[in-house]
Symmetry: C2
Subunit: 324 residues, 2 copies
């Protein structure tokens, strides 16, 4: 099976919105008048972003999910994406699973595959995603203001919990690992929440490298600092039963590591002024997404972490660096 057969069989479908899809030198998109185009690229590499034996269907899901998560963080509506894929060899079972997972999530968000590239090489998946947002309404990192509440969507830390178990650093009961692994391998991009937060949030970003590190990007871009209720944030781990320390599986320090610096959460961290708490709640409701308040933006630069008793906590929670 050659390059063009791979594209034809697994990645070519009728175009619904684009003016021209897979099969010419370029795809053609017809932007809606008055909208800006939001663009993001993410590259996933074996051993760095996923294990060699990951289920290809989950990998197809995740490869697009991490890109949709960037659109969500900007409040952009998904439109289309391109896929560039380097494969060691043509493995039809793998391609069938990968394209199934990829296109199922694409369909869920009405985001169509319009073009790309395939080549032989070490496994590498590069997706570039396009979305639309009304001019001037994109959620940026730079909009946080002192006094803003800091929120995070969904749950935090379970992806890292699964990773720690898969790396053999901790032991988890099979059912717990299976649930946490879903969070690692099949993240849910918070697209609907991002759309609902337009005009509500002052700033937003997606949590890919770890909550504190990613929040620091917002604070740096906004010239501000923050106080974080680490107890509230720690409590956002879904597998709370295994965070008690009673079972012996792990302790509060690991929970903090997972929730504050775990990475791979693909939740949104965002800020909004206190007078918009009702609007934030309404956005959460409209998008059927849980949001939790975990801190406050302050004028003084830097992150101030507080524990359950309101006492200062040393920040030992380094973020993920792709060259670290």
């Amino acid at each position: 099976m050659g390059e063009f057969d791979v594209i034809a069989r697994y990645f070519t479908r009728p175009v619904r919105h684009a003016a021209l899809g897979v099969g010419d030198d370029c795809a053609l998109l017809a932007p809606t008048p008055g909208m800006q185009l939001a663009v993001s690229s993410d590259m996933l590499v074996e051993g760095r972003h996923f294990f060699a034996d990951v289920d290809p269907e989950a990998l197809g899901h995740k490869a697009l999910a991490v890109n949709l998560s960037d659109l969500a963080a900007c409040g952009a509506r998904p439109m289309a994406f391109t896929l560039a894929l380097a494969l060691p060899r043509v493995d039809e079972t793998w391609l069938a699973g990968f394209s199934r997972g990829l296109l199922a999530l694409a369909d869920e968000h009405d985001c169509e595959l319009v073009g790309g590239d395939t080549t032989q090489g070490p496994l590498n998946i590069c997706i570039t995603v396009f979305g639309e947002v009304p001019a001037g309404q994109a959620l940026l990192r730079s909009g946080a203001r002192p006094g803003d509440d800091i929120y995070v969507s969904g749950t935090l830390g379970d992806a890292r919990l699964a990773l720690q178990a898969l790396l053999g650093h901790i032991a988890l009961p099979a059912q717990v690992l299976a649930r946490a692994r879903q969070r690692l391998e099949r993240p849910t991009p918070r697209v609907a929440l991002g759309l609902a937060l337009r005009g509500v949030a002052h700033s937003a970003m997606d949590v890919s490298d770890g909550l504190l590190g990613d929040l620091s990007h917002i604070l740096k871009a906004s010239g501000a600092g923050a106080r974080i209720d680490t107890h509230a944030a720690s409590f956002l781990i879904a597998e709370k039963a295994y965070a008690s320390g009673v079972t012996g599986y792990f302790d509060i320090e690991l929970v903090r590591q997972c929730t504050l610096a775990g990475g791979d959460d693909y939740e949104l961290v965002f800020t909004a002024p206190p007078e918009r708490r009702d609007a934030v709640a309404a956005a959460a409701q409209a998008s059927q997404t849980r949001v939790s308040r975990i801190g406050t933006v302050e004028a003084e630069p830097g992150l101030r972490l507080l524990d359950a008793l309101g006492q200062p906590l040393e920040n030992r929670y380094a973020s993920f660096d792709h060259f670290g």
Copy 2:
């Protein structure tokens, strides 16, 4: 040096046209009203698209050039691009050269780097490029009509000639190799020609995998066939002195292989009706790009190759397949 330092030092520059560039979750582009957005992605892998010891500045140039060539083939004006880069390690000398070559070509075409991703992994370069074209005016593969002249821009086959020498299959004098190698490593995307051919050409495509194979995509998309003057095409190799067979370096069969199926030319192959020969000449002149007529589109499917005497020539010139 971490991921964010790499991006800041080598790939972040002030944005000129985009609404938002490197450093947020998404870049924001503001499409011009009435324009369609042309999008293309290409992935370059070590050992497949370039040698491990290639000059990083040339590689930076080529990585963007092959993408701009796709825009050229559509008649789109370059606007912006994203870069996703997997690097085995942070090598500042390599990054400095790569970004210099990349951004010099980007500046030449006023095409700005608006975002991307960097990660650790086997060397892989994935660029997605964006251009604009007035709605309905993009040059497509599907527009060729029986009776159209078939043209190709510039020269053909020298990139493959260099590759053959670099692989040790043939010997070339150092100066000849140096010139041919420029064609392999620093292709010239025919952007100005593509723009000038809007409203003139019926169909167009860029020659990346080999003339005959790429032309076949046009013919297939257009439901047509063609007759090709292989003598005229063979004569488009720049290093003609080494194509004579007299020097003993190589023979006409190799010249045909290089020109008809060489790949890596990044010229445009396009078709236009005979009554537009003057318009094609004017487009060539306006873009200061040589174009040569090498055949005719015919209603009967398939490629009919003719030699210098007008006699049929067997088509043994297979195109490059990335999984071949």
